[in-house]
């Protein structure tokens, strides 16, 4: 271990933990330090080994009660790791839980934390990051305090390939479980009909250009023809409530990274664009050629979505 301390990565979601290995590797190499994966929860040993085969040098494992939602146990263990092992960098995926965990950990340690980072690098032994602020402006920051804690935007980095013969030590963390302060009374899964817009290769998103709730059928038809799912901008989920909140793309909703994103009647407010910036191919369908959405599109269709969408569905159906 170098004087700089390890790079520790953690996410409660395995796919994002793997992405953190890609974000953390150059930082660890630059510091001449090891990269350690921190796993909390049941089935941890398999998951810890998974992190090692995908690039972690070692893993730490905390057995934690899955029904506990208050994060207090995971937090206590991470605090212990920070105080005893003096890591140089702690990266946590910027999920809802991860964001809370990072903020609380940083406050306990009396250090700064940069959230939703999209790029990270080590310059002169300090962590430099990029993140989006003010809706669309790129902000570069230095984390002066140590450990340098940052949360990393999910789906920004690509998980490294596995090398099944990679080996590394897995150590169990013994941390006392604090008395629970929150009690979970019930859990409902949000996957209405199994639709997860952040898991789909194709998202057909609709905005204020839609005139009535019944017209959603037309958007659903297009999504079906493309093998995708329907997403929406904020006015349709929060104001009109035509679609559930989990369909919302954007700053206060879900960040998506599909191969194809079709924006139908979405003007392209900052709030929305932040959530789809990483998409592969973007199509904008809008009757207004000057809509901000057009500057975010690879293909611009300037026409009434009520004419284009059904015609596009028919054309696609004709291809298959």
């Amino acid at each position: 271990m170098s004087d700089h301390g390890d790079v520790v990565v953690h996410s409660e979601q395995d796919e994002f933990a793997l992405e953190l290995l890609a974000a953390g590797r150059p930082l660890a190499d630059s510091l001449g330090a090891a990269m350690t994966g921190f796993v909390a929860g049941s089935g941890g040993l398999e998951r810890a080994r998974g992190l090692i085969t995908h690039g972690a040098d070692a893993a730490l494992l905390l057995a934690v009660d899955e029904s506990s939602t208050d994060l207090d146990h995971t937090l206590a263990a991470l605090e212990q790791v920070a105080r005893e092992r003096h890591p140089g960098v702690i990266l946590i995926a910027a999920t809802g839980r991860g964001t809370e965990l990072a903020a609380r950990l940083a406050q306990r340690l009396g250090v700064g934390c940069a959230g939703d980072c999209t790029a990270l690098s080590m310059i002169g032994g300090k962590l430099h990051i990029e993140r989006t602020i003010l809706g669309r402006f790129l902000c570069r920051q230095i984390i002066e305090s140590r450990p340098a804690i940052a949360t990393v935007q999910p789906r920004r980095f690509t998980a490294p390939d596995a090398s099944p013969d990679r080996q590394g030590p897995v150590a169990r963390i013994e941390a006392a479980r604090p008395a629970p302060r929150l009690r979970v009374l019930g859990v409902r899964l949000r996957e209405a009909g199994g639709v997860r817009i952040d898991k789909s290769e194709v998202v057909v998103a609709v905005g204020r250009g839609l005139r009535s709730r019944e017209d959603l059928a037309m958007i659903e038809d297009l999504a079906r023809a493309l093998g995708g799912v329907v997403g929406a901008s904020r006015p349709l989920t929060d104001d009109l409530r035509w679609l559930p909140p989990e369909a919302k793309v954007g700053l206060s909703g879900v960040t998506v990274r599909p191969r194809l994103y079709v924006a139908c009647g979405i003007s392209g407010q900052i709030e929305h664009n932040v959530g789809m910036r990483e998409a592969g191919i973007v199509v904008a369908i809008n009757s207004d050629p000057n809509a901000p959405m057009m500057s975010q599109a690879d293909y611009r269709v300037v026409a009434d979505l009520y004419e284009v969408v059904p015609a596009l569905t028919r054309a696609l159906d004709g291809l298959s």
Binding site: R104, G112, I143, A311
Partner: protein, 264 residues
Amino acid sequence: MTIVVFVKITPDTARLGADPRSGEPRIQQAPCRISTFDENALEEAVRLAEAHGGRVIVISLSHAAPPRELLLKALAMGADEIRMITDPSAREADALATATILSRALRLLGDFDVALCGEGSIDEYGRQVGPRIAEAMGIPVVTRVEKAEAGTGTFVVDRVLEDRIETVEARLPVLLTVGAEINQPRLPTVLQILGASRKPIIEWSLADLGFEKGSVAAMAGVRTIEINAPGDDRQGALIPGESAVEMAGNLAHELAVKGLAGSR
């Protein structure tokens, strides 16, 4: 019930332009507003006070005196009083410094039952300050609450996670962060706006809170180097066509060429 709401006055990001040469945001020229989710937090606080009785106290931190009409709006929406902490050095405050200042203000207020704030602010959207204040106060936090009901000495709330909604019971005092899902903030009536000017706005300096000069910059753990507009606009190709049907056909062809259509 004493309900505290943390409210941030921010530049209105929807009306924020960029300098055409440097690409930097023109923050000074942008109008200010109450950060959207903090409006939701205030609305929820007022609803709780209306349903169960109690006082709603707003705490706000700013590097410059905010427009008076925004403070009056918060009071007209139903806040009973505002503690306004204004200090130029707040410009240097990161989430650590902000939460440290706000939690000291909360201590100075004395007992409270529930503290509310937006999940994140529209300018930074760091989503750190709420959980950090809870940690500094040693109280539990529930983030992204979409429904809150007061029980006896407890709150039962629904919180939104990526894949689930959890119903959680928390003992008081508790800190809740909220998003847009929880409510529709009210538009104050003329009568409420007129009544607002009679409610107290109490000014606090950082010295009143026991912070020494220069302590904010020393406290901060994150330093901003520069802010630029991202040059990530896509060079979109205009899909040609005399009619919508023709455009649709041309687009379908493009998508098929890219392997995005026709194979399903």
